[in-house]
């Protein structure tokens, strides 16, 4: 593998680089001219509804499929070379397991195959499956299987961890425990990329969120930036007497307004400025509430805006 020598270039070598990558199935463009770069140490969420192209993107990144156009690089080489060098650990959504062997045997296999393996005992403990180590793989619950897949993805010292909807099938406490483990991985300086449709996960865990829609990158930023982009604070208040709509609709930073009875609900990209201007209108809002939108609503808003643009 070629190591960059100049500092400027080394800093610029991304962990993952997609350049105008496309993948077509029949007449569906699953991934459409995708360009993105992941940097060392980032924890990145790949967010999107079903069919957005998340799994295809991860397949391309892991070399499971070849792109129809563009190039995919991982640590400056091909995905396969990066995997052979043990730099990538991955957990697939559809990652089948070998039947009729025990959890410990399967994890030992993953450790044996990795160029820089951890101790089997440690991998089992970290994935929280030490107590089911002697159980047959085909006799596990969905959440336990996910933990085994996680153990396979973290059997050695990899620099990038890729997870496709990792908490599917886990209950709430298992999910929390899972993300705590994942944070440890990230805190050790690893780059983590995970696809999810649990939007609160992206919000809570990721430094950076990539919103994918119809195979294209719709938004790229921190969870806070993405909320802001979608008009992400909600202002609600009651007014007495007849309501004069026109000045309300003209409020600054307003992205939508809904008036029902005496109650006004506004979405604003800058709630402070909107509320300030509201008082400037000379009205007296009662029961004023300002609340952040969850990433879910922000995401829905971005997606709707995109669909409105296209139709």
């Amino acid at each position: 593998m070629v190591r960059m020598t100049t500092t400027a270039t080394a800093a610029g070598t991304p962990v993952v680089g997609f350049d105008q990558v496309s993948k077509v199935y029949g007449n569906v463009r699953a991934v459409d001219g995708l360009t993105l770069a992941l940097h060392p140490g980032e924890t990145v969420a790949l967010l999107g509804p079903n069919g957005a192209g998340k799994s295809t993107t991860l397949d391309l990144l892991l070399g499971l499929r070849n792109p129809d156009g563009g190039t995919v690089q991982v640590f400056g080489t091909t995905p396969r070379q990066a995997i052979v060098a043990g730099r990538v650990g991955a957990m697939l959504q559809s990652g089948g397991l070998m039947d009729e062997v025990t959890v410990a045997e399967l994890v030992k296999l993953a450790c044996d195959l990795h160029p820089r393996p951890y101790q089997v005992r440690d991998v089992l403990a970290r994935a929280g499956i030490a107590q089911i180590a002697d159980r047959k793989v085909n006799k596990l619950s969905g959440g336990q299987s996910q933990r085994v897949r996680f153990a396979l993805a973290t059997a050695g010292d990899s620099d990038l961890i890729v997870l496709d909807e990792p908490t599917t099938g886990m209950d709430v406490s298992a999910r929390q425990a899972f993300w705590a483990t994942m944070r440890e991985q990230a805190d050790q300086g690893r780059t983590v990329l995970f696809a999810t449709h649990y939007l609160e996960e992206a919000d809570a865990i990721a430094d950076r969120v990539l919103v994918l829609h119809r195979g294209r990158l719709l938004a790229d930023g921190t969870a806070a930036e993405i909320k802001a982009k979608a008009g992400a604070r909600r202002v609600a208040f009651d007014l007495e007497g007849p309501i004069d709509e026109a000045p309300l609709r003209a409020l600054p930073f307003l992205t939508s307004i809904d008036i029902s009875g005496q109650t006004v609900r506004i979405q604003s990209t800058d709630a402070d400025a909107t509320v300030h201007a509201l008082y400037g209108l000379g009205v007296y809002p009662r029961n004023l509430e300002v609340a952040g939108l969850g990433l879910e609503q922000a995401f829905v808003a971005i997606t709707e805006a995109e669909e409105a643009k296209q139709s």
Binding site: D59, L62, G63, L64, R65, N66, I83, V84, A85, G86, V88, G89, A90, L92, S94, G95, G96, L97, M98, D99, E100, V101, E105, L106, K108, L109, A110, D112, L113, H114, P115, R149, L152, A153
Partner: protein, 243 residues
Amino acid sequence: MNSLIKLELTRALRNRRFLFFSVIYPSVIFLLVSNQTGTVDGTGLSVAKYVMVSMASFGALTAVLMGNSERIAKEREGGWVRQLRLTPLPGRGYVLAKTASAAVVSLPSIVMVFLVAAAVKDVRLETWQWFALTGAIWAGSLVFAALGVAIGYLASGDAVRPITMIVYFGLSILGGLWMPSSTFPTWLQDIAKWLPTHAYAALGRAIEQSQAPHTQDIAILVAFFLLFAGGAAWLYRKDTLKA
């Protein structure tokens, strides 16, 4: 890759049903059908000697064909093959590990038939013949190991069992492993003599008759091996592109 072979083997040895059918079952059939005395027409071999080679070949065929085709088809569908592609294991490693572990199971099934034949039916051969037989039947089973891999990559998880069964019984019966193909009507004999199983058993019988194996039988086995291995390689590559 050694660790994958070891794990495949551990798993095969744990599967009692598979072990029964590949290691014990051929010897049981041997005992059931080798009761006649006299020789088999046109071979000069006693019934026991003739059936011994048939059943040793049948046992090896069972071990390499049955386990692999079904496992590969199921593991392909279930995603284990994909999961392995996320490890540094080379792409061929999966198929090689399957074939290697099948070969380890097929050896005892061959030896078991020989032991039973020698102990119970008093079959006697020269020392070199025992070793040559074991080696020829063991090496010949690679042809069917390749066939098992090809079926595993061709069939879906639901269809793999019936397809394997049809191929397995078709090749066993038509190839003359269960009864001498000389008992078939002539038109069927004409078909049977081109089957890889027929050539496979003929290899062993030639050794029992202290003859060099017939060139035609070796040519048939090599041709089928190239066909099955080439087919398996092509199907494997196709499956890889499909992810």
